[in-house]
């Protein structure tokens, strides 16, 4: 009996590790949710089609070495609804999202381009406000918007506006980041409370008749990265910003790519009381909810305390915590030690986060 169950489980693990093939008949919302369906689409369709070593890393940004310059290059599309929500707006996200993708591979952001897809009938003041929000966010992040493009589509063909930004940055010399640097025993740092952005958006859509003072955490993360590089140096292994799919998805990607296990302490993960309450009521796992101003960093245990202190010194990192560590096994999996004294597997987000019925 025991042997049989082991065999079944081993077979599932082998299956999980295979490169996914994309054979879905059509695109569903799940393909954009950042979880398993997105992963299958990217690894099963885009990556093999564009095959190259930079893309194969599937990092937040690509590392390009050009005539001795250590560049970072990335792009991101923004389709959030509503356009303005507590704590931020699409314009601010469009800047922060892309500069953060650069920062996650240890690159100081330099410049952005922006493409606007505008819907016929969009209120001029709405557009003006978003452009202003972008300018303010860019100034705060220390980047310039150096080129752009504008397209207009017919009424009902877009939700007001979509923005696509691309960014270029220069990779810092203080650390060589990558999943291959990860070792068992490494500590996992989280820069602050998780689930704020996704919960704020869900409530801002107004469909849930649930009011709470929850604001998006959208912010540029370079100052935190700069502090981490200073405190941890070469002890900094890898960073990710847990956007769509949340902490659960990002940690699963790391565990799989680095072929290590990850063990989280549920109690150690910072969650604001309002977000915890909302996710409890809505039946949604906060670990799968999107963040726009948080990072996860994996660091050498020898420098973990210093790295944590460096994060906590900054306003953005005030609630930073060590939330877990890297283990030898189970390879490719994330385990959560629950506050109740049990253990569970934490998988990637599957589909859109759909609430449970009861």
């Amino acid at each position: 009996m025991a042997g049989l169950e082991q065999e079944v489980l081993a077979r599932i693990e082998r299956q999980r590790k295979l490169r996914p093939r994309w054979r879905d008949e059509r695109i569903t919302m799940a393909h954009g949710a950042g979880g398993k369906a997105t992963h299958t689409l990217v690894s099963g369709l885009f990556e093999p089609a564009f095959a190259n070593p930079q893309l194969a890393e599937l990092a937040d940004a690509a590392a390009l070495d050009v005539d001795g310059a250590r560049l970072a290059f990335t792009t991101d599309g923004f389709v959030v609804k509503p356009l303005v929500f507590p704590g931020g707006s699409i314009g601010e996200l469009a800047v922060n999202g892309t500069v953060n993708d650069l920062a996650m591979i240890g690159a100081r952001p330099l410049a952005l381009t922006a493409a606007f897809v505008l819907e016929e009938g969009l209120d001029g003041d709405v557009l003006r406000a978003e452009v202003q929000a972008m300018a303010t966010a860019a100034a705060a992040a220390g980047v310039t918007v150096v080129a752009g493009d504008t397209k207009v589509v017919e009424r009902t063909k877009a939700d007001g506006m979509y923005i696509v930004t691309s960014g270029i940055g220069v990779r810092d010399q203080r650390a060589e980041l990558g999943v291959t640097q990860i070792r068992p025993g490494d500590r996992i740092l989280c820069s602050g409370t998780v689930g704020d952005h996704g919960t704020a958006i869900m409530l801002a859509r107004g469909e849930l008749e649930l009011d709470a003072d929850i604001r998006s955490d959208t912010a540029a993360l370079w100052p935190l990265v700069d502090a981490l590089l200073g405190a941890a140096g070469a002890g900094l292994r890898v960073m990710r910003d847990p956007t769509r799919g949340g902490v659960a998805t990002v940690l699963n990607e790391i565990a799989r790519d680095a072929d290590v296990g990850i063990v989280l302490q549920e109690e150690a993960v910072p969650v604001s009381p309002a977000v915890e309450g909302a996710s409890e009521i809505l039946g949604i796992d906060v670990m799968t909810v999107a963040n726009e101003g948080k990072l996860l960093a994996i660091v050498d245990p020898a420098v973990a305390d210093g790295a944590l202190a460096a994060l906590q010194e900054l306003p953005l990192g005030e609630h930073a915590a060590v939330i877990g560590e890297v283990a030898d096994e189970p390879q490719g999996m994330v385990l959560v030690k629950t506050a109740f004294g049990g253990t569970r597997i934490m998988d990637m987000l599957i589909g859109d986060p759909l609430p449970r019925i009861c």
Binding site: V8, I12, G342, R344, D347, G351, L354, I357
Partner: protein
């Protein structure tokens, strides 16, 4: 979080776990079924099995409302959802349930207007705001959710909202329990009674279980300590040779149930002569349909539906899993052809389903335990 953390205290859990272990007779293997999908979810989410001795095994029963909906009913829903002018509403995790040809999520991707709601009242609101559209609510669930559907229908009638209707798939808890207990391949020692259902029906309907089948039932709440305490109460009954219905969830569940809610159910619904349960087959008098007084809001009368019975996929062993005859991992397609992304059986769809819960939360802990045993 206040009012929640108190029920998730690890020290209290260890205390209860020790008492449960002390009650277990050496050499005896205990199988306790939690009927309700919400309990299954709690068990895995908090790792409750880690607190139990190896000889106390939890069997995950048929109480996940999404998991018991047969494919033919899903197809009927999809057929209505695809009609022009229809806004189709349902609870979130219903959207992923596969029918004979795709799920409601697939129908949405093909252009159907399918929206998830937290309450049937939200669906009624959509109807009020879209008077030129037909708004259909796909009602599922046990006696837990049936009263809210009933109240919504009463409001629709009072406000004369004509563009709203309900596909009623509400089911009742006692008939499947009876069917389970009468199934010859089942061997159980006791039941953790469903908490939310019991807030409506009370504890009295379970009295046949100790009386006719000699097994303890303890109605339980949904926090991890609630579950451990009810397991303790069942073990205590077994140790003392008693079999009774006891109420662990007395802070919410009145012994007689919610009479007001039962009245509402009696007004709006009537029993169907029989209903198909996924994996369990046809069970007589196990589901509700709208009563004649509410026929105008019955989507089954308003729209033409295929009404075709779709046999469960051959490879799928949901029925045996629901009955607790096999463990999820013993199913032939578990974790390979049938995964949470591409579910074949409904037990894999809802996070409450026994298979999805085992796949997402329980797999590793169980395998370690087995390896160590």
């Amino acid at each position: 979080m206040r009012f929640v953390d108190e029920f998730r205290n690890a020290d209290l859990a260890r205390g209860l776990a020790a008492q449960i272990a002390a009650l277990a007779e050496p050499g005896r293997h205990y199988k306790i079924m939690e009927v309700c999908g919400g309990h299954t979810h709690t068990i895995y989410k908090h790792g409750i099995e880690d607190h139990l001795p190896d000889t106390v095994e939890l069997v995950h029963g048929p109480g996940c409302p999404v998991c018991v909906i047969p494919m033919g009913r899903v197809d009927d829903g999809i057929a209505v959802a695809k009609r022009p002018g229809v806004i189709f509403t349902c609870f979130g995790d219903m959207m992923r349930v596969p029918g004979g040809d795709g799920s409601l999520l697939d129908a949405k991707a093909q252009g159907a207007d399918v929206r998830f709601v937290y309450s049937p009242l939200d669906a009624l609101k959509i109807a009020r705001n879209n008077p030129d559209r037909e708004v259909v609510f796909f009602a599922i669930g046990f006696e837990t959710t049936a009263p809210s559907t009933a109240l919504t229908l009463m409001r629709a009638k009072a406000e004369r909202i004509k563009n709203f209707s309900v596909i009623c798939n509400h089911v009742t808890i006692v008939p499947p329990l009876r069917a389970l207990l009468e199934s010859p391949d089942l061997r159980l020692d006791g039941f953790i009674g469903p908490g939310h259902v019991s807030t409506v029906v009370g504890c009295r309907p379970y009295e046949f279980i100790p009386k006719d089948h000699g097994q303890p039932v303890v109605t339980a709440g949904f926090e991890p300590l609630d579950l451990l305490q009810s397991i303790f109460m069942i073990m205590k009954q077994l140790a003392e040779g008693r079999s009774e219905v006891e109420n662990q969830y007395s802070r919410v569940v009145p012994w007689e149930g919610n009479l007001k809610a039962l009245e509402v159910l009696a007004e709006v619904f009537e029993l169907r002569p029989y209903f198909e349960w996924r994996g369990l087959g046809f069970i007589s008098q196990s589901a509700l349909r709208l009563s004649d007084a509410y026929a105008d809001w019955d989507a089954e009368l308003r729209f033409e539906m295929p009404g075709v019975r779709v046999a469960d996929p051959k490879a799928c062993q949901c029925g045996e899993v629901l009955k607790g005859v096999i463990k999820p991992w013993e199913c032939k397609v578990f974790g390979t052809a049938c995964t949470p992304e591409t579910p074949i059986g409904t037990c894999m769809v809802s996070s409450e389903g026994a298979c999805a819960a085992y796949y997402n939360f329980g797999r590793f802990a169980r395998s370690k335990e087995r390896a160590g045993a």
